[in-house]
């Protein structure tokens, strides 16, 4: 029963509570080994949406019009990061949502899964340094259009944390060339002043790629964690425009 339902039943002169507008529902997929799902859900709520956890065995997304594939170590990163998750039942629903034009945001391990299923191009190799890297990085916004990027400005520099060991994006030269030509790079690692220099690249990713977007603009993957930067008190709100855009189209 909803709060508004209880309100209407009220008697004895208590005025009926006006039902709040239905909040937009965003599915947050939970794999065994996901560990950023709660943060993703909190970020969705912060952006005004309703977060709906969806277990990886589910064949549907509970009617949600947008979805987050959160960070973590789905299936313990067995075989390859994201490889097992890519074949779980819920990914059929994610593919359907992608085809129907629904918004999908893959964060860190979620980005690796989007690469494994081929919704975004390329693959992840271990970081150049072979170390797990957990720190803030700067990103330059390369695209500020489409469903998910429209609240950003082109050339804007965001500061977001990364936490991964396999974020070294790789694709064959002809694929890199096609991605660049089609504007598939959403974010690049850069200096605090927005220069995409090699020394601003934490993991060795080709062309400093930190995030990719598909041609239709509805599937976005990035290694940094926007869901961890949605409150000033907790280090900043640079991640909020992305989450807000997702919630608005759910």
């Amino acid at each position: 029963m909803t709060a508004s339902g209880r309100g209407r039943e009220g008697s004895g002169g208590v005025p009926a509570v006006v039902a709040p507008p239905a909040r937009r529902r965003v599915a947050v997929v939970v794999f065994p080994g996901s560990n950023c799902d709660r943060d993703a859900m909190a970020a969705v709520e912060r952006a005004g949406g309703e977060a709906v956890p969806v277990w990886h065995q589910s064949e549907d997304l509970a009617g949600c019009g947008a979805a987050i594939l959160p960070g973590g170590f789905s299936y313990g990163d067995y075989l390859r990061a994201g490889a097992m998750a890519a074949h779980s039942p819920v990914m059929r629903a994610i593919r359907r949502l992608a085809v129907e034009g629904g918004a999908i945001l893959g964060i860190c391990n979620g980005f690796q899964i989007l690469l494994e299923v081929g919704l975004l191009p390329g693959a992840m190799l271990p970081n150049r340094t072979l170390r797990f890297i957990c720190r803030d990085v700067h990103l330059r916004v390369e695209r500020a259009d489409g469903l998910l990027l429209r609240h950003l400005r082109r050339g804007q520099v965001l500061r977001l944390p990364i936490a991964h060991k396999e974020g070294n994006w790789y694709a064959p030269a002809e694929v890199v060339e096609r991605v660049e030509r089609e504007g598939g790079v959403a974010f690049r690692y850069c200096s605090a002043r927005g220069e995409t220099r090699p020394d601003a690249n934490p993991n060795g990713a080709l062309a400093n790629v930190a995030g990719l977007v598909n041609r239709e603009g509805n599937v976005l993957g990035l290694m940094p964690h926007p869901e961890r930067r949605v409150w000033s008190l907790l280090g900043g709100e640079d991640g909020l425009p992305l989450v807000r855009a997702l919630v608005e189209v759910a």
Binding site: A83, L125, Y170, V175
Partner: protein, 80 residues
Amino acid sequence: MGQVEVRVKLKEDVLDPQGEAIRRVLAGLGYGEITRVRVGKLLMLEVDGSERPEVRARLEQAAREVLSNPVIEDFEVRLP
């Protein structure tokens, strides 16, 4: 039933920082004759009917679609 081996290797033009780190350790221990190390995966599968062509075709498919990532890896299915 037979044991089938699937060998998964990084493609030649993909850098392998893990292999390079191992090579450096080996060189530091005096194994200077080892000039290159590449790390791959060996999967050992127990398979029913691996002598049948349709099962072999299915093994190739599983290796291509699940066990390897064609963007960065090559695979080889070794039958008993």
